[in-house]
């Protein structure tokens, strides 16, 4: 795996995702909410970045806009060198299918499919053949080998989230977005998922952007981006649970 480590070093300077002056307004007139109010931020490839901030600060909105799940009112989003603002729904769908991975807080899996089918779903939609070696690596690292034939209802919450992680990574996406992936898990299961995400960045060279509330979860990241009221409110490199906590206190959260 040492080769991989050195590889991450070489691409460490590349930008995976970038937002320029993003504005997102919900509603109209008196009730209008500026969920994002001119956010400019970029995310390095091969890095694990956490987005934090008080409830309602615009974290999920930012992530949705970055991932092409939602359209923006103004500003630009780039994934790699491609600008995704202004793409049609079809192009965005194709982009998500080929270049983006997702882990959501809950309801990550299709109940009708087995764990293995869930993992491979994105690839099948894209009509791509899975890389068997890569698939085996991920499955083994996540300890899912003996759970592949199970349906989601037969898996624990932590196992379900690990299946979701496997699915997000199996297509080798440019970037993985995770919105509170550990929000529903106990601390032990949460730690397992976070360990894996960090490992996928450090050892496998993935790029992960994670929204979280939990300072402890944020401490797994290389960098924390702080949001408040739709504005960028600072960032922390090599965060620890304490440094994140005090930064959040300063934001008044």
């Amino acid at each position: 795996m040492s080769a991989v480590v050195s590889e991450t070093g070489t691409i460490g300077t590349r930008t995976a995702v970038a937002a320029g002056s993003l504005v997102k307004v919900y509603g109209k007139g008196d009730t209008a909410v500026r969920a994002l109010d001119g956010v400019s931020v970029s995310f390095e490839a091969g890095k694990f970045t956490a987005i934090m901030g008080p409830s309602g600060s615009g974290k999920s909105t930012l992530m949705h806009c970055l991932a092409g799940l939602d359209d923006v009112d103004s500003g630009t989003v780039h994934i790699g060198s491609q600008e995704i603002t202004g793409l049609s729904d079809k192009e965005l769908t194709k982009l998500r299918r080929d270049r983006v991975g997702f882990v959501f807080q809950a309801f990550n899996l299709l109940p009708t499919l087995t764990a293995q089918q869930n993992v491979l779903l994105g690839l099948e939609l894209a009509g791509r053949k899975p890389d068997q070696e890569w698939f085996d690596t991920i499955v083994d690292v996540l300890g899912l080998r003996d759970r592949l034939r199970h349906k989601p209802t037969e898996l624990s919450g932590g196992q379900q989230q690990r299946v979701a992680c496997a699915r997000a990574l199996v297509s080798r996406p440019d970037v993985v977005f995770a919105d509170e992936p550990t929000g529903n898990l106990d601390s032990r299961s949460g730690a397992e998922v976070l360990d894996f995400l960090r490992m996928s960045v450090r050892k496998l060279g993935q790029t992960v952007i994670m929204v979280t509330h939990d300072p402890n979860a944020a401490s797994y990241a290389d960098r924390v981006v702080l949001l408040a009221d739709g504005h960028l409110a600072g960032e922390i490199h090599n965060p620890t649970a304490d440094s994140v906590l005090s930064a959040l206190k300063n934001l008044g959260a």
Partner: protein, 850 residues
């Protein structure tokens, strides 16, 4: 709690509208069928009552105490002098041949015109009633079929072949009576003119109108004493009306039973759809109900709120459905009248029982459908309900062993009964096999949830191969909740089973009739007499044989003979050398090349009945001439040479000379002439040539086998069309049930759809997925229904088939294919709205949905 209910109603408009429509459609079907039945009854009663209108007393022959065959007109005159009588008229009819615009004789019925206006049972449509001896009025249907108009000339032929000419002065519409139902042509003349056609005519009855001075009972008494004792049956008009009504009841009873049968099917199908919709609805609300309980609502309160909501919805939808049903019934009557070419007589009587049935279906079924899931919902501890992941397999059927055992019992019993029935005869066979089929159907329905998986896997193969991932997902969705899918598709299954059973039976009936026509008519054309008691002249055969276009002509006659030991048989007589050509019996024993003068061929069943064997010779007794009834009947010894199968030639076949020896009247001519055209002769030219010979004869009617078949098919198709229209409604409701389930599932799976979209499923693929899911569900119901329907009709044709009438089992692949294609198209349509809705929801909004 009321405010919560109202808020809930508002918040769930889409779901409520869906289930309301399901209820309304079901109610519409049930009430529509009932209104249709009552409407038909009312119109038939009205028609029948035309014959008793204005009648205060009716005088007929008392057949129990009198040998008189009818009443002479003198009796009417005698009655007219009785005190209190305003008018009397005779009623009855005479069979004649009618020569209309086409110069062809048709059998017709002549009735005497009532002179007392209030006693006329017909309504003038155009023109007027005859007032002079040479005037005639014709029934409107007769006017159309015989191309007669006012001012036209009509000739009537009596039994003595004497012609009399009349001028048409009006057309009228008959009330429905036994005569009008027979479909004969119908005309009215003054009684005097009628008596010129048959001087000895006797009437069925004398009808009397009173002058109002005495009651009907008193009038009966007066007439009874005036006519003296015995021989007459004298009744009041009121009694006549009662008899008419009883007669209507007896005769329309069958139609009402059939319609009630449809109403029952409607009830079952609608109940299933309503129940299914509501079950899904409440299941989806389990979490909401649990939340209500967490914030302090009692179990009873929650339960009552569900029931109150169901009640409100049921009441509202029933009302809508009732009016819809009345509309459906009116539309059906209009369509029926149009398709039979009659005047649209739309009646929409709404009986109390219809209203009760409508609300019983709408409200009760909805309530029952709500109670069970509501009970289930309130029994779950609130916290558990809140935590459960409702949009997954919460309700997956763990189909119990009891269910399987029960289903197997039904299936085995059903098959046993069906097999048992095929060994029986006639109505009994039909009843036993029919009951067996019913059990099998119920068994399949009970087994439904277990069948969903395997059937879905088989059906899913093609779309999966063609459409990839979206189809795969659709197949998974279609079988994720087997109980729900089974409930959704079973309504369609029932509808399709019935439709296909009826359709295959009809097609088998048509095929059987056609086969019979083929057996009877190997000829290109048949010339028959339009009048049953008059034969075709001998020279017609010679003239036809002389035509260059004609290759072969064979005459046929029919006669009744007495075999030994008082056994009577109805046999066909043909030219001996026509055997193997135009006469083609299927020989099962003995040999037959040509039929000699002293030979006879018997049908298998006649042989069995008489015990005669091949080679037996016996003395056959014919009948003497009608004008020499006292002379001894002619006899002739005949030898049995062969047996044939089927009924095409009745009990036996003899040569024409044999027939003439046994029935001297046949010297005058034949009852049928079969014509075979020479090879290479154009059908139109051949027909024209034959027609040149037959046209001058007033009684010769030319029929082609093809025309006879077409006529038969048309009758069957008309009946089938009516059935399709009625069951079509059930199928429509069933398809709506699919749309409903799909819509509710889409709502339930909003998050899942959003997840799929996030993972890279395009909008089009999402729509495709739902369309495939809908098609799979529709095909599940349709395919199983078709298999059952075809199987049932096979059982029923086998059960009804006998040696005498072997039924051909014929599957109308065209119509079956049409049904399948229609099911697929309807499924696409059913998926349209839910698919649109699902695709429109944005990914982010979908993810946010609870």
């Amino acid at each position: 709690m009321l405010r919560t209910i109202l808020a809930g109603l508002r918040a769930r408009t889409a779901r409520l509208v869906l289930s309301s429509v399901a209820i309304a459609l079901g109610v519409a079907f049930v009430s529509g069928t009932m209104v249709l039945g009552d409407g038909l009854r009312e119109s038939v009663t009205d028609e029948f009552s035309k014959s008793s209108r204005g009648v205060d007393v009716s005088v007929g022959v008392d057949h129990q105490n009198s040998d008189a065959e009818g009443i002479p007109r003198g009796v009417a005159e005698q009655i007219s002098t009785v005190q209190g009588v305003a008018g009397t008229d005779v009623r009855g009819y005479l069979h004649v041949a009618l020569l209309g615009g086409e110069g062809k004789a048709r059998p017709a019925v002549v009735a005497p015109l009532a002179k007392t206006e209030s006693l006329r049972e017909f309504d003038v449509i155009e023109g007027r009633y005859p007032t002079a001896a040479n005037e005639i009025a014709v029934d409107e249907r007769t006017a159309t079929t015989s191309k007669l108009g006012i001012g036209g000339q009509v000739e009537l032929l009596n039994e003595q072949q004497e012609k009399r000419s009349f001028t048409v002065v009006g057309t009228y519409r008959q009330g429905t009576s036994l005569l009008s139902l027979s479909g004969s042509d119908h005309v009215v003349l003054l009684p005097e003119s009628l008596e010129q056609l048959d001087p000895g005519v006797l009437y069925d009855s004398v009808v009397v109108a009173g002058d109002g001075s005495v009651g009907q009972e008193a009038l009966v008494a007066a007439i009874t004493s005036a006519l003296g004792s015995g021989g007459y049956r004298i009744e009041t008009g009121a009694a006549l009306v009662q008899q008419d009504l009883a007669f209507v009841e007896q005769n329309i009873g069958d139609i009402t039973t059939v319609l009630l049968g449809f109403a029952f099917i409607a009830l079952v199908v609608s109940s299933m759809v309503i129940y299914n919709t509501f079950t899904i609805l409440v299941a989806q609300r389990t979490r909401e109900l649990a939340l209500l309980r967490c914030v302090g609502a009692g179990r009873g309160q929650v339960f009552r709120s569900v029931i109150a909501e169901a009640l409100a919805m049921g009441l509202f939808a029933s009302l809508v459905g009732l009016f819809g049903g009345i509309g459906v019934s009116a539309a059906l009557q209009w369509g029926l009248a149009r398709s039979t070419g009659g005047e649209a007589d739309v009646r929409i009587p709404v009986e109390p029982v219809t209203v009760i049935a409508a609300f019983a279906v709408g409200v009760l079924v909805t309530l029952v459908a709500a109670v069970l899931p509501a009970l289930r919902a309130t029994r779950v501890p609130p916290i558990a309900a809140l935590r459960s992941q409702l949009d997954s397999n919460d309700d997956v059927a763990r189909t119990g062993r009891l269910r399987v055992a029960f289903a197997l019992l039904l299936l085995v019993g059903g098959v046993a009964l069906a097999v048992l029935g095929t060994g029986q005869k006639g109505e009994q066979a039909m009843l036993i096999s029919g009951a067996g089929c019913m059990l099998v159907l119920i068994g399949v329905l009970v087994l439904g949830p277990l069948l969903v998986g395997p059937i879905n896997r088989v059906l899913g193969v093609v779309p999966r191969a063609l459409l990839g991932v979206p189809a795969e997902l659709a197949a998974g969705n279609a079988s994720r909740n087997p109980r729900r899918t089974a409930a959704t598709t079973s309504a369609l299954l029932i509808g399709v089973t019935i439709v296909s059973t009826v359709t295959v039976l009809a097609s088998s009936g048509k095929e059987t009739a056609n086969a019979q026509v083929d057996a009877e008519f190997p000829a290109d054309y048949n010339v028959t007499s339009s009048l049953y008691d008059q034969v075709l002249p001998q020279d017609l055969v010679t003239q036809l044989d002389d035509l260059p276009e004609v290759e072969e002509v064979s005459a046929a006659a029919y006669l009744s003979v007495e075999l030994q030991d008082e056994q009577f048989a109805y046999v066909t007589a043909v030219e001996g050398d026509a055997i193997g050509g135009l006469v083609n019996p299927t020989i099962v024993a003995g040999t037959l090349d040509s039929l000699a003068d002293d030979e006879v061929v018997l049908s298998e069943s006649a042989a069995r009945r008489t015990g005669l064997k091949i080679g037996d010779t016996y003395e056959v007794r014919g009948s003497s001439r009608a004008d020499a009834a006292d002379a001894p009947a002619p006899t002739k010894p005949l030898t049995v040479v062969a047996f044939y199968e089927g009924e095409a030639f009745y009990d036996g076949l003899v040569a024409l000379p044999t027939a003439r020896a046994l029935k001297p009247e046949l010297e005058r001519g034949y009852e049928r002439v079969m014509v075979k055209l020479a090879d290479g002769v154009d059908a139109a030219a051949g027909r024209a040539a034959v027609q040149r010979v037959t046209d001058p004869s007033p009684i010769a009617v030319l029929d082609s086998a093809a025309e006879t078949k077409a006529q038969l098919s048309k009758q069957v198709d008309q009946l089938l069309g009516f059935m399709w229209a009625l069951i079509g409604l059930a199928v429509l409701i069933a398809l709506f049930g699919i749309a409903n389930t799909l819509s509710l599932s889409v709502l339930e799976r909003t998050r899942e759809s959003a997840l799929l979209r996030a993972l890279g499923l395009t909008r089009g693929q999402l729509r495709l997925m739902l369309v495939v899911e809908s098609i799979l569900m529709a095909l599940m119901g349709a395919a199983v229904g078709l298999v059952l329907g075809i199987g049932f009709s096979w059982v029923l044709t086998t059960a009804l088939s006998s040696d005498n009438i072997p039924l051909t089992f014929a599957v109308p692949y065209g119509q079956i294919g049409t049904m399948l294609v229609a099911a697929v198209l309807a499924a696409v349509l059913a998926a349209a709205l839910p698919a649109r809705r699902a695709a429109r929801t944005s990914v982010v909004a979908g993810m946010a949905e609870g």
